[in-house]
């Protein structure tokens, strides 16, 4: 059994190795675009943890995405663009998303809101934020030096820099790609460790039978709140990195279409697979970006079609579906090999007698 699974386990590292080497053969601009495809994966990982493990379907990833993005913008536009301030801006964006997620999560879980109503509440939160930000176009809507700018979007935010001999080094294109990749790997490793351990088991138990989980002494609401805040913070990380990448953020990042995208990526990739969520999201965003060249409506139609096909043909998600079938094929090949060896031995025994 172990022998048949070893090669597939090895395959787990292949996408990371490819991601590590890609910038060596691509130009800086393309690397920057790849970073864009990868940065959405944080939000997807957060949703996979919430939904796939905890059974909490949240449409609110975009709310925290927007809060962290605007948080980064407001902080850096007011406090400068030195390397320290840029990183502090990133942390500020994350802290804002964590605090708001904790407040909303507390109201949801300690208010005993369950199932589909969690989706409705979180969708409402992101739409309220979008609606609010949409009417901030006037000059009176400014926080210090930062104009919110309504649908025109907030722009001019600095990129991340690091201190370097001979002047600060701006993280853009290839260097930004590697930053995103390192962060993504760190998030992957931490989430795998967390979700493969007793925290993950507890979440699965809560998802499958909350009453039984409670009778094991599990504080259900605390665990649900924890995974909600964690997942939302990852949504925030995506938002902050998005704002850094494009030096721009707009209320549409918190709109209805945007809110549906993480759900589509995670449902398509496999909501119980952290690696699948990363790989699937990066590929779907890349596909969507390329199709958008011919018209953004095509990308949306394709996303909808992919989701429909996957839900019908592989409800557990594409990557788990592929892995399951590869394992089945391996098992068949293994059984065929054993059969051939058995026949060979039988022939030899018959020859002797």
């Amino acid at each position: 059994m172990k022998q048949t699974q070893m090669p597939l386990r090895g395959l787990r590292w292949l996408p990371w190795a490819v991601a590590l080497c890609l910038p060596l053969v691509l130009d800086a601009n393309t690397n920057g675009n790849l970073a864009y495809c990868l940065l959405w994966a944080f939000s997807a990982v957060g949703l996979a943890a919430m939904w796939g493990y905890g059974g909490i379907l949240s449409f609110g990833q975009t709310a925290f995405f927007g809060l962290a993005g605007y948080g980064y913008g407001i902080f850096t536009l007011n406090f400068g663009d030195n390397w320290f301030e840029s990183w502090l801006g990133l942390v500020t964006g994350l802290v804002i998303s964590v605090v708001v997620a904790a407040l909303i999560g507390y109201m949801i879980f300690f208010g005993r809101i369950k199932g589909v109503f969690i989706g409705i509440v979180t969708l409402s939160v992101t739409l309220v934020l979008e609606t609010f930000m949409a009417q901030t176009a006037g000059p009176q809507w400014a926080i210090g030096e930062a104009r919110l700018n309504g649908y025109n979007g907030m722009g001019g935010m600095p990129q991340l820099t690091i201190p370097w001999p001979g002047g600060a080094l701006t993280l853009e294109n290839t260097s930004f790609y590697y930053l995103v990749l390192i962060l993504l790997f760190a998030v992957y490793a931490v989430m795998r460790r967390l979700l493969d351990g007793t925290f993950g088991l507890t979440l699965v138990a809560i998802r499958e039978n909350p009453q039984r989980a409670e009778m094991l002494g599990v504080d259900i609401r605390r665990h649900q709140l924890l995974v909600f805040v964690l997942g939302s913070a990852l949504g925030g990380l995506s938002g902050a990195l998005y704002t850094i990448w494009g030096s721009y953020i707009t209320p549409s990042t918190m709109g209805l279409t945007a809110a549906a995208m993480p759900v589509i990526w995670v449902a398509t990739s496999g909501r119980k697979s952290i690696g699948g969520a990363i790989l699937g999201t990066a590929l779907l965003v890349w596909l969507s970006q390329n199709l958008a060249v011919y018209g953004s409506q095509y990308a949306l139609i394709l996303m909808g079609a992919i989701l429909l096909i996957v839900v019908l043909a592989a409800p557990e998600g594409l990557l788990p579906f592929v892995v399951k079938h590869l394992r089945r094929l391996q098992g068949r090949a293994g059984r065929r090999g054993s059969r051939a060896r058995f026949d060979e031995t039988l022939k030899q025994e018959e020859g002797k007698s």
Partner: protein
């Protein structure tokens, strides 16, 4: 004898329906107490009032001398209660080993053994890596009991532990419960199967119409006319 669990004047009504009508009840440490009664006697409601799933309309539950009125279900578990549900509440997507990993992680002080020891004790070694959804009904029941025991409880509630089991499995479960009792574990068992009750219990409590009808040694209780009439449906 230390009184582990006590109820005083426990009542529960749902609207106009009075389901539990003032039950005074107690269990001493080290006892196996079977609670029996015909359908509708209020056994399950009584059970849920003790575990905190329902809140009493009147009266109180005391565990280790402490009033449980404002103690949440999961906090009661942490204090030393543990429950095996009537319908196996296993987690379909977790393996047997993962179930025990999870429940042992929740155990505080008195861990009753390692995962391997529990697998052996509850006859689940062969199913260690099997997903709970693929277990037979009897094995699910044993896994439930193993999870409840692995929390290292002071008082174990078993709600119909042998429901749906074969005769062999029922007997094996009885022996298992007797071994647990010999190790000093206090148990309250709600059960219909009288053969099983006779196998494990020395003392029974009979509920009828939401009230405590009889309480005492098994032989004496079964010899009573009123118990025979309400429980077995016949007059002696």
């Amino acid at each position: 004898m230390t009184v582990l669990l006590e109820t005083r004047g426990l009542k529960k009504h749902f609207g106009g329906a009075h389901v539990i009508n003032g039950i005074d009840f107690s269990i001493n440490a080290g006892e196996i107490r079977c609670v029996i009664g015909p359908n509708g006697a209020g056994k399950s409601t009584f059970f849920k009032l003790i575990t905190g799933e329902h809140r009493p309309s009147e009266g109180s539950v005391y565990f280790l001398g402490q009033d449980m009125s404002h103690v949440l279900p999961h906090e009661r578990i942490r204090m030393g209660m543990s429950i095996k549900f009537q319908i196996p509440g296993v987690f379909p997507d977790l393996t047997v080993r993962q179930h025990l990993q999870l429940s042992l992680h929740r155990a505080k002080d008195d861990r009753p053994g390692s995962i391997d020891e529990l697998l052996q004790r509850f006859m689940l070694e062969a199913e260690e890596h099997v997903f709970a959804r693929n277990l037979s009904h009897g094995k699910k029941q044993w896994l439930e009991i193993a999870m409840a025991v692995s929390l290292g409880p002071k008082l174990l509630f078993l709600d119909e532990p042998v429901a749906g089991m074969s005769i062999e499995e029922t007997h094996a479960t009885g022996e298992l419960i007797k071994r647990l009792s010999a190790s000093g574990l206090t148990m309250m068992v709600v059960e219909h199967d009288m053969t099983f009750v006779k196998q494990i219990a020395s003392r029974v409590t009979v509920l009828h119409g939401g009230s405590l009808l009889a309480d005492g040694p098994l032989d004496e209780i079964l010899a009573r006319d009123d118990v025979a009439e309400v429980y077995l449906g016949k007059k002696k």
